[in-house]
Amino acid sequence: MIIADRKPLDEIVGMVSDAKKILVLGCRGCVTVCSAGGEREVEILASLIRLGMLKQGKKIETVEGTLVRQCDKEYIDGIDEWEGQYDAIVSMACGVGVNFIANLRPTTKVYPAVNTSFFGGSTDQGVWMEQCAGCGNCVLHLTGGLCPVARCAKSLMNGPCGGSVNGRCEIHPDVECIWQSIHDRLGRIGNAEAMNVIAPIRDWSTAGHGGPRKTLRDDLTI
């Protein structure tokens, strides 16, 4: 899922400092699961924005809402429910949600309340780790299911580098050297020889270096 973190409050309050009434809008998708922008976080943020504005001697009205998703046109239409009740929307969805509102509501002010961080999963309660970078050309079948693009500090295709020490990455002793783990795992699953295959120079054009990416499924379009 997409992992996000709430932005610093002074930054958020700064965005809405001229507004009189705002819609704080959560999303029931990924940001609910990673506790960044679901219904509960909406309630907390609305309260903190009101407090932040009071601190500046201003009063702001807040309306709270949470959509099933903010990355689908159908659900964005749900915003109509609060028509006329806000000057601006503070979206707690990932950046996709904010973009969708901006795309579909050309004259509505929309601000991001979270920093969209990465694709990951919860490895422990309250801990999320990046797992995939959405490179558009997956190599997990060659690397024992562990991603060298997202999880190697250098995104090496032929690791490990010379800085790998005792299974730790040279950038920090807390960071696993994923290439050591790939090596160990390939051994465990009886595919150690895969380490001898030299990966060719990679074409990164699918990884977002060639402009915004698009998927078109002819079988689904009407």
């Binding site: 409050l9 309260s47 601190k55």
Partner: protein, 140 residues
């Protein structure tokens, strides 16, 4: 001008038995400041961040939570959860440039004991020294 802070205390069932048993007068005789309003909750682990923030929105100058000792909570981890939420609010207050020490967590033994009164007195002194909460600035 003397300032009497509005302090809201949220205490669990077990640590606040004193507030029920002794009544208003008894508590005053024990030295509990009269400007502290006590809210009893079944367990501090049940307290939501939004409930504590609401206390500030409603005009509190200081807020504190009293739960069981960290390793002896009646509900195992309730007071640990409450303590984490208090830390999260401290961080949020700091981001809004408001003194984080306006909110505090206390872990106390259940039953009658002077530490319950001491916590109240400590908060009363601390918040009196800090002055009115900046959230109470005149809203335009």
């Amino acid at each position: 001008m003397t300032f009497t802070p509005d302090i809201q205390a949220f205490c669990c069932h077990y640590t606040s038995q004193q507030t029920i048993a002794e009544g208003k007068k008894g508590l005053k005789d024990d030295g509990l400041p009269a400007n502290i309003t006590f809210h009893r909750v079944v367990c501090t682990g049940k307290l939501q961040v939004s409930t504590l923030l609401k206390a500030f929105e409603e005009g509190a100058d200081g807020v504190y939570v009293v739960g069981c000792p960290e390793d002896k909570c009646h509900n195992v981890k309730g007071s640990q959860r409450a303590a984490k939420r208090v830390v999260a609010i401290k961080k949020a207050l700091a981001e809004l440039a408001v003194e984080p020490e306006r909110i505090e967590m206390f872990h106390l033994e259940r039953g009658f004991h002077p530490e319950f009164v001491e916590a109240a007195q400590l908060m009363n002194k601390r918040i009196t020294d800090l002055g009115p909460c900046p959230f109470k600035g005149e809203a335009k």
